[in-house]
């Protein structure tokens, strides 16, 4: 069964249909990539899934349950984590604090207990810290643990954002252009992490990406989007040689 399904989802902003009747299934344990030229509607799909935007029509289904109208703050609790195209970390907090905020949806302590920092809170904090340290070790972020995000280089921040999403312990991870702004080496590292996330952590990934070599390296299936519409879906090779996709990337007009 599919872990995630989008059924004919659409959203319009004023006159434009940013996402137009898009349907796709993501299977448990795969890396599913979304490609397409700028403005194709890729990020908008992520914003629909994380419920920052509401779909004008269509359905979103996760583990067999519809969540088209679930409030945005509940999405992490369902087990869906994401990163942002233009890094959205908490810049005036340390790396450690950023990752701990990723644990928020797992926090069960009461407000009154927090006021007194009761033993239950202390115990929960230590448990969160252990989980966070696992992620820090996984991504090799030890040396930046106490740095303010604002003082970290872009490449590191990109990894921190991935780490923060992993702290949610998601079943489904949405990565919006994980390699943008990274140099060749860093992109390669990102590729290995995505493979590890799939193989070792067993997390299903939906990735929006422009770097075709990264897409080829990690993806099981690819969906190509243009003007908010699906123009091709299948193996990475097949999608890249699809005539519509070639046309879209060469900037040719696509017949509606």
């Amino acid at each position: 069964m599919s872990l995630f399904q989008a059924r004919d989802i659409s959203v319009r902003f004023g006159g434009i249909r940013a996402v137009d009747a898009v349907s796709f299934d993501v299977h448990q344990g795969e890396v599913f990539s979304i490609i397409g030229p700028n403005g194709a509607g890729k990020t908008t799909i992520f914003n629909l899934i994380s419920r920052i935007y509401s779909a004008t029509s269509g359905k979103l289904i996760f583990e067999g349950e519809e969540f088209t109208r679930t409030p945005a703050w509940r999405i992490a609790g369902l087990g869906i984590a994401r990163t942002f195209q233009n890094i959205e970390l908490f810049p005036n907090a340390t790396l450690l604090q950023n990752l701990l905020i990723g644990r928020h949806c797992h926090s069960r302590v009461g407000f009154i207990a927090e006021l007194g920092f009761l033993p239950s809170v202390r115990k929960a904090e230590l448990h969160h810290r252990e989980k966070v340290e696992d992620v820090i070790a996984f991504l090799g972020l030890e040396r930046y643990r106490d740095s303010l995000i604002a003082n970290l280089p872009y490449g590191v921040r990109k990894v921190v954002e991935l780490g923060r999403a992993l702290c949610i312990e998601p079943k489904l991870l949405l990565l919006d252009e994980p390699s943008s702004g990274l140099n060749v080496e860093e992109t390669e590292g990102m590729g290995f992490w995505i493979e590890d996330i799939k193989k070792d952590l067993g997390i299903t990934v939906i990735m929006v990406e422009h770097d075709m070599s990264l897409v080829n390296q990690v993806s099981d299936r690819v969906m190509a989007l243009n003007y908010g519409k699906v123009i091709a879906m299948g193996t990475p090779r097949a999608v890249q040689s699809h005539p519509e996709v070639v046309k879209a990337y060469l900037g040719g007009e696509v017949d509606a």
């Binding site: 703050w73 992490a76 907090a93 905020i101 006021l115 904090e125 949610i168």
Partner: protein, 358 residues
Amino acid sequence: MRHLFRTRYQQDIALWRHNGDRFWYALLALIVLLAPAVLGEFYIGELGAVFIFAIAGVGLMLLVGYTGLISLGHAAFLGIGAYTNAVLLAQGVPFLVTLPIAGLFTALCGAAIGRPTLRMSGLYLAIATLAFGSIVGTVFQKWTAVTGGFDGFAVPTPYVFGMSIEGATGIYYVSLAVLVLVLLVAANLLRSPTGRALVAIRDSEVSAQSMGIHLARYKTLAFAISAGMTGLAGALFAHYVRYLAPDAFDVLLSVQFVTIVFVGGLGSLRGAVLGAMFVRLLPQFIAVVRDSLPFGIGRLPGLEPSLFGLTLVLVILFQPGGLNGMWLKTKQWFQAFPFKRQASFRRQKSYARSERLR
């Protein structure tokens, strides 16, 4: 430089990181506990007022410095706390009951103002809270049946465990105890999920939401906690002034509170205390030097508010870290001593988002 060698995660959630800290804070505690034995009644009264303002400062710091929401209406919360306390005392309710009720009731009022302003930030929120403040001020003036209006309200003497705390010293110790409690609660919150949620909202609402943080709930909570602490300060303030006048809780007082958090240093509890010291001591300082100022500057009306405004602007422009930032830099300088760290003292140009007042 001091480097901390950590061997357990416990160390990162401890309130005090080194034994050195513990020593200095113990010394400070001893000094403030013994101060009434040394200082005269007037100075103890003023120091008590510093504590009261620091309590409100910690409350506003949680809202402005940690959640990134501004309020220009905190004088109203101080007033609500003050009147609640005084009115209940006059009904014969004991002080140890009226004090927490004043805090809780003001917290409720805070939640009530937090709720409708959820979608506002920056200038809009500033104006909404300013309006709230002036509405409450008008209520204090017009609701004469309860507040006594401009006739004022004589605050009954509080009793703690049968002892009357009439003089400045009594209020001094009660305020000190409440300040310590408020600081402890704030520090506990900040090392718990709730405190981190507030910081997350301050830095990025959209990603806070994706981390599972319910924006409406936490913003309302921040307003409630902030108002509640300010209400506690108000209850004590009533005893400091002894006679409540409805026009004491005006915009200028709200601006003083905002000055506390900005001059003290956004995002630091120590800053709230330092800021309160500044705000209470500046008028005293002006009073002392007033007569010796040249060109009759000392006799100009509005000298005090102008100086508050001027410092606020200067701090925002040149020292975004506020007094707390200066303190940290000086400490660093001593720790690094023979080595100078030029960069630490260079003018800071990066502002936290909360400092830009979205």
